[in-house]
């Protein structure tokens, strides 16, 4: 060792240990390489299966109801070629928008939840817990009261409300950086305040507007029509893909701020961009279907566990989110006889149990 002091050595940068062409790293699981992207086969297959299940639930949603339809009738109805015109209307106009909403909005919630849980490095750091959904809802109510109930204005209001909430939460949390757990506590407190404010807003509004706001406030896909879901689905897909663009940076940020910056990630601008996109995502969903709880919270965790994903998998989250929402909506519509519940009631009930379990887990980990 000491020779380095005694003899001056030739010190040019030599290559590291040689590798042979075509030699592969053992990732411990099959990897697929397409178009210069390395994909984890297990994540792909799991997400594919979950997505198929979501589609199956969606198909069941198209079949079930007062007009029970056969598989063949649903297919005919989807392309508008059924013999009975009512079938076209039932499938194409009544049920398809709702099923599409369940799938697309659920996937959007899954992605948004995954982004925030990754950024806060905490499974509780999801937009429905830290107030961004509630803030988006507040923005939505204010716009409904002022401008009426068009989707575009509600969505704009919801995005502004969501972003403002995010700014407030971050300002209250900032202390030379944002620490995940403090952000969650502040977010929960702000959620409570916003809920009180929302109630006050609804109490003061005209009866008709108040009823619209309140139904929407439970989180529901009831009465979902094309005029709402078409723009919402486009926005959700675009914003979801935007999150996908940042997936690599997100994975690097998970290594800690110092490591990610040393690896060439511009931490703060990337984080800000991700927050804006993910808040917009949850706001669009909220504008279309109200503040649906639990999906954004649970989808990333369930997705990660079943796919055995390494770190955050937006893909698995999206698939599980879609399945959760479309399945919960199926229960909300059909499990209680003639009573149609808002899907938010179902997700909150299941979510409450999950949240208790999660809190116990986190508390155990902390102690």
């Amino acid at each position: 060792m000491k020779t380095s002091h005694l003899a001056v050595q030739e010190r040019t940068l030599c290559p590291h240990p040689r590798t042979l062409p075509g030699e592969r790293v053992d990732f411990g699981r099959p990897m697929l390489r397409v178009f210069g992207v390395r994909l984890d086969m297990r994540v792909l297959i799991t997400a594919g299966i979950v997505a198929l299940l979501a589609l199956a639930c969606g198909f069941a949603g198209l079949m079930l109801g007062k007009f029970s339809l056969s598989i063949g009738e649903v297919f005919q109805g989807l392309v508008g070629m059924a013999d009975k015109r009512i079938v076209n209307t039932v499938v194409g106009e009544w049920r398809a928008p709702r099923v599409l909403a369940g799938i697309v909005l659920g996937a959007g919630l899954g992605v948004s939840g995954a982004v925030f849980q990754s950024l806060t490095r905490n499974p509780l750091g999801s937009p429905d817990i830290i107030g961004f959904s509630t803030g988006a809802y507040t923005g939505g109510i204010v716009t409904i009261i002022v401008f009426g109930t068009s989707f575009v204005s509600t969505a704009a209001g919801a995005i502004i409300g969501g972003l403002l909430t995010a700014v407030i939460v971050y300002m209250l949390t900032w202390k030379g950086g944002v620490q995940g757990f403090r952000l969650i506590i502040v977010g929960i407190a702000l959620t409570a305040m916003l809920n009180a404010f929302n109630t006050w807003l609804i109490l003061r509004a005209d009866l008709e507007l108040a009823m619209a706001a309140a139904t929407w406030g439970a989180g529901t896909l009831n009465g979902m029509g094309w005029s709402t879901i078409a723009p919402a689905a486009v926005a959700t897909v675009v914003l979801g893909l935007a999150c996908g663009l940042f997936a690599r940076d997100l994975g690097t940020l998970e290594l800690g701020d110092y490591a990610s910056k040393a690896l060439g990630v511009r931490n703060e601008p990337v984080r800000a961009a991700l927050i804006v996109v993910a808040v917009a995502l949850v706001a669009v969903v909220t504008a279309a279907a109200g503040p649906i709880a639990f999906v954004a919270l649970a989808a990333p965790q369930i997705g990660r566990r079943i796919a055995k994903a390494q770190g955050t998998s937006l893909l698995a989250s999206a698939a599980v989110g879609a399945l959760l929402l479309v399945a919960a909506d199926l229960i909300a519509q059909h499990a209680f006889g003639d009573i149609q519940l808002p899907v938010g009631i179902i997700t909150v009930s299941i979510g409450g149990i999950y949240l208790i379990w999660l809190l116990i887990q986190e508390a155990r980990k902390a102690s």
């Binding site: 380095s4 001056v8 290559p15 790293v25 992207v37 990660r304 390494q310 955050t312």
Partner: protein, 274 residues
């Protein structure tokens, strides 16, 4: 034979550096040049600013005043990604995402060489494999990082930094939480990276004797200032150790390596000794 002169041949230079956290000044008007192709170790008592200096050299802490020059360019004006292709850092604490495997973690070291359209190529595969081999972690590649021992885990993090393929490596207290066997294993690895692969290394270490054994160059810091810089046998004296750490000691020749070896003064075993 290359002539290595710290002044003319320094890849990393700090000029008139002022460093502060929340307006609390840690380092003021500091100049330092990291010699090319050598293993440099920064030593000093706790809170002397050594990790702070390392962070500034790795542009993780923007200087309040002064500049860090990487290959003669002001690091504050360079693109983060460009810097990451030239300079790698092993942070004091890093987080392995839950359930991540060794290979996947090491693969994240390829980030500065990738873009959205060019995410994974043969070059990435080769760099990861090579980094795993250099750190002797290839057979761990499919294991989960959470399951590894402290020493293995630190090797894997080093592999991640190596996969970055930078000739400059900054290591912030890499041995702190390891037992002595793992410390030696890791320091031998750093030596090997320096000797065999020609990396320029800068490490913050706590153990003065390890610093003397392994370093080509020692930078001794106290209260945010550099007290001495040079080859261990040139600068390590009982006076310097007293000045920097405030402990009385004798400096002898290391019976194994011949490097200076610090033997601290008589232990105070009773209260009467104090």
């Amino acid at each position: 034979m290359s002539t290595l002169n710290a002044d003319t041949h320094s890849p990393l230079v700090a000029q008139h550096l002022d460093l502060a956290y929340d307006h609390r000044e840690i380092v003021s008007d500091l100049d330092v040049a990291i010699p090319d192709g050598k293993f440099t170790v920064i030593v000093g008592p706790n809170a002397c600013g050594k990790s702070t200096l390392l962070r500034a050299l790795a542009r993780l802490l923007p200087p309040a005043d002064g500049a860090v020059l990487l290959d003669g360019n002001n690091i504050a004006k360079m693109k983060t990604k460009k810097i990451a292709q030239r300079l790698g850092l092993l942070p004091q604490t890093s987080i392995a995402p839950e359930g991540i495997t060794v290979a996947e973690l090491v693969a994240r070291g390829r980030h500065p060489h990738q873009s959205f359209l060019r995410q994974w190529t043969d070059a990435d595969e080769a760099a990861v494999l090579s980094a795993l081999r250099a750190t002797n972690t290839e057979e761990l590649s499919s294991r989960q990082v959470d399951e590894l021992s402290g020493g293995q885990r630190q090797r894997v993090w080093v592999a991640m930094v190596l996969a970055q393929e930078t000739s400059l490596l900054l290591l912030d207290e890499p041995t702190t939480f390891l037992d002595v066997a793992f410390q030696i294993e890791l320091l031998d690895l750093f030596c090997q990276l320096n000797h065999e692969y020609g990396h320029t290394l800068v490490a913050v270490l706590h153990d003065l004797n390890q610093a003397c054994r392994y370093a080509d160059e020692i930078i001794a810091m106290k209260d945010g200032e550099i007290v001495a810089q040079g080859r261990p046998e040139e600068i390590i004296t009982a006076e310097l150790v007293d000045e920097v750490f405030g402990i009385g000691c004798t400096v002898i020749d290391d019976p194994v390596t011949g490097a200076p070896m610090i033997v601290a003064g008589m232990p105070k075993k009773t209260f009467a000794d104090r």
